[in-house]
């Protein structure tokens, strides 16, 4: 009597089960991945927003510091501090200034500051180099 293969076959066949499990797993992973990605996007958005707020705060702090600096640099404040701290500093009186007439600066905006002296030095070094080259010739 031939063997009844139907009866002897296992109740659950492995192949389709594996397939179903793999498909389910893939679907689950895709779902989890989708949620994770959405969450990441949200979190990154939050971080972006925080950074923006921080940047804005830094800008405000910067403005505030610029304002304070302007106050500390104001002549009125400096004069008050000099008086309070008794530093004895004051603008030179005309009789305390030796005024020479040989190297006056005529151009507007030229103050006798570092730029003036740098230019003067540059001018003298140019003269020197010209003299040197003349000597070489």
């Amino acid at each position: 009597m031939p063997k009844n293969r139907k009866r002897s076959a296992p109740a659950i066949r492995l192949g389709p089960v594996v397939k179903v499990v793999v498909v389910c797993l893939l679907l689950c992973l895709a779902g989890v991945g989708f949620v994770w990605q959405k969450n990441q996007i949200f979190e990154l958005g939050q971080r972006m927003k925080e950074k923006e707020q921080r940047l804005e705060q830094l800008r405000v702090d910067n403005q505030d510091r610029a304002n304070r600096l302007a106050y500390f640099r104001s002549t009125r404040y400096l004069e008050d501090r000099i008086q309070k701290l008794r530093l004895g500093l004051s603008a030179p009186k005309p009789e305390q200034v030796y005024t020479l007439t040989d190297q006056g600066v005529r151009n507007e905006g030229d103050y006798a500051g570092p730029q003036y002296w740098a230019r003067a030095r540059q001018g003298s070094s140019n003269q020197r180099s010209q003299q040197d080259s003349a000597k070489k010739r």
Binding site: Q63, N67, S74, P94, E95
Partner: protein
């Protein structure tokens, strides 16, 4: 039998389910298809929002980059009295000092008040105030302090409270909060410095695309004149919010960034401005005048280095001027007109020299102090002097009224008027400030004989301090009138130059030869024999003129109320700086030589040193000269004998 009944029930149940599903399906289609647009809009309203992005108002700087005006974000603090219960006293004690309000005042403000409102249909309803503004323009730092104080306030043992009570205290801590509408505060770090030039600001509510916002607007000075440039453009951001009303940054739909206002760089030098204000304050102390004004100008470019008027005000608190003294906010340098008096003689004689109606060294008979010309009233000299023959140089040095008028009447009236208009009188100087007065200069066709003799000596004409300063600057500049420059450049927030204001010559009024002649004559005014002897400087030759003009009250000149002035430039041989000082009604009726000339000298001494101007003169008997000559072999290029 039983099976038939069962089938019947089954069929009925199936039918009910089918109808139910059909109903659900229909509803689904109705919601998702037919009413899709309405619900989509509703959902969008719930999650979407549009934020206004506030622009930052531009800063104002002086010529050396010192900040003169800036803006900082600020908050409007308000309270909801309905959330406070009986804790007004506690809040007033803690918060009062932080917002600069007395405990008592704050206590009263925090009391809930009910009042009736009329509805559109005429019925009444009782409402309780839920928005009481406690302070405006509170800096963010201060607001943070208030917020922390509210969060950390102690209200006794909280552990025994039920849910409702805990909710009350949670709301109590939120009863004082900040308005969501962004605001900002304008700050002038130097307080009073250059107040009239900078001006002040106010805040106005604006609606941008149906959203409320607060905007700073200039009310005076540069703030007003450059309001459009200083104010930026609002931006906006369309975005989505989550259930806790937090922005979902990744779901931004549209964003247009706000454009910040431009930064304005002035030609004003803060240190010179401070110096001028300090010296004017000394004048105010000494002579107690109604006001004192000074202007410093570069004649070659027309750049204004300082422009000050005292009394002034603090633009941080423009309302804090004495009651009834709103004129403290008035920039008298451009808004006030006055009869210039003797300083105007420079202009009259310059016109005469240019027209060749008078020559250098020519002798003019000054009628021994009493001169009647045609139908004009007799003209007399100041303080009854009786001069005889005088040259043009002496006329200026002694400030002779008769000598000046005699030169002026040699010209046809319309020619003389042409010179006056050429020097900029009777018209606005076109400075970058609002409210400038034109002055008063009537047409020569309407001049009577009185006017012909009085206008040359600065009577019957009204000028602003800026007009007369620019006119004298024109003489110092070799005869070319320059447009007064107050703005150097405009920069965007990144420091890129957007606009530059270059020196603009308006017209040549007199020749350079005439200018030199007048300068030579004006140098004799600032000499030991001239009226401007108090303006003599140690190292610089000065050309200038004093002025003492009686003020007219109710159409009559009054003794004791006068206007003392001094306008001059230095070094006279190569003018670099024009300085005018005008003292309005000094007590005791001081003259220009007594009140204004010393102030001119004080300003000029320090300013010349600061600007490193090349000296061109020194007195022969100066004790410094011998010391200097001992120390330095460098000879002075021009030793003047005054």
């Amino acid at each position: 039998m039983i099976q038939a009944q069962q089938n019947q029930r089954l069929f009925f149940l199936g039918l009910v389910l089918l109808i139910a599903f059909c109903g659900l399906g229909y509803r689904l289609v109705d919601l998702q298809v037919h009413q899709h647009i309405q619900y989509r809009q509703k959902a969008e309203i719930n999650v979407r929002s549009t934020e206004l992005l506030m622009p930052r108002r531009g800063d104002i700087f002086d010529s050396r980059g010192q900040m003169l005006a800036t803006s900082l974000p600020a908050k409007t603090i308000f309270a909801d009295p309905t959330l406070i219960g009986g804790y007004q006293a506690n809040l007033a004690k803690e918060i009062g000092p932080l917002i600069g309000m007395s405990e008592w005042d704050l206590y009263h403000k925090l009391q809930p008040k009910s009042f009736t409102r009329t509805n559109t249909d005429g019925s009444f309803r009782v409402v309780t105030n839920r928005y009481v503004v406690l302070a405006r323009k509170v800096p963010l730092e201060r607001w943070k302090l208030i917020k922390d104080t509210m969060r950390n306030m102690e209200f006794g043992d909280m552990s025994q409270l039920n849910r409702k009570q805990r909710g009350f205290f949670r709301n109590l801590r939120r009863s004082i909060s900040a308005d969501t509408v962004e605001d900002s505060i304008r700050i002038y770090p130097n307080n009073h410095l250059g107040a009239h030039v900078l001006g002040y600001t106010s805040t106005r509510d604006v609606a941008v695309d149906d959203r409320q916002a607060k905007e700073i607007v200039g009310m005076d000075g540069i703030e007003l004149a450059f309001n459009n440039r200083l104010t930026g453009t609002f931006g906006y951001r369309e975005t989505e919010k989550d259930s806790r009303r937090r922005e979902v940054a990744t779901k931004r739909l549209k964003e247009v960034a706000a454009t910040d206002g431009l930064n304005v760089h002035l030609t004003i030098d803060a240190r010179l401005q401070h110096l001028v204000e300090q010296k004017l304050a000394d004048v105010m102390d000494k002579f107690q005048p109604v006001s004192a004004t000074a202007i410093l100008v570069r004649p070659q470019t027309g750049k204004i280095l300082a422009m000050a008027t005292l009394p002034n005000y603090d633009p941080n608190r423009p309302g804090d001027v004495p009651k009834g003294r709103e004129d403290f906010r008035k920039n008298r340098a451009i808004m006030d007109v006055y009869e210039p008096g003797s300083t105007f003689k420079i202009v009259s004689i310059a016109a005469g020299v240019e027209q060749r109606v008078v020559r250098w060294g020519e002798s003019i008979w000054c009628e021994k102090g009493n001169w009647k010309w045609r139908n004009a009233r007799p003209l007399r000299e100041y303080r009854g002097h009786s001069y005889e023959s005088m040259t043009m140089e002496t006329i200026l040095a002694k400030s002779s009224n008769i000598g000046t008028s005699k030169i002026a009447v040699r010209m046809p009236a319309n020619t003389f008027e042409g010179y006056l208009r050429g020097f900029g009188f009777g018209a606005r100087s076109d400075i970058d400030l609002r409210g400038e007065a034109k002055g008063i200069l009537r047409s020569s066709s309407r001049w009577r004989d009185d006017d012909r003799t009085r206008i040359p000596i600065g009577q019957g004409i009204a000028v602003t301090p800026l007009q007369i300063t620019m006119a004298i600057a024109a003489i110092a500049n070799g005869g070319t009138l320059m447009r007064p420059l107050l703005i150097d450049r405009l920069e965007d927030a990144d420091g890129n130059v957007v606009g530059r204001y270059n020196p603009t010559p308006i017209r040549r009024v007199i020749s350079s030869e005439t200018s030199r002649t007048i300068t030579r004559a004006l140098m004799s005014v600032v000499s030991k024999k001239g009226t401007g002897r108090n303006a003599i400087m140690d190292y610089y030759s000065v050309a200038g003129k004093t002025g003492t003009a009686d003020k007219a009250v109710n159409g009559r000149y009054t003794n004791g109320k006068n206007l003392a002035s001094f306008i001059g430039y230095l070094p006279a041989t190569n003018p670099e700086l024009v300085i005018s000082v005008i003292v309005n009604e000094p007590k005791g009726g001081g003259s220009g030589g007594k009140c204004a000339a010393p102030c001119f000298k004080d300003i000029a001494d320090t300013a010349a040193n600061y600007l490193n101007l090349q000296p061109d003169s020194v007195e022969l008997d100066s004790p410094l000269l011998s010391r200097l000559q001992r120390q330095s072999q460098t000879p002075f290029i021009n030793v003047m004998n005054r």
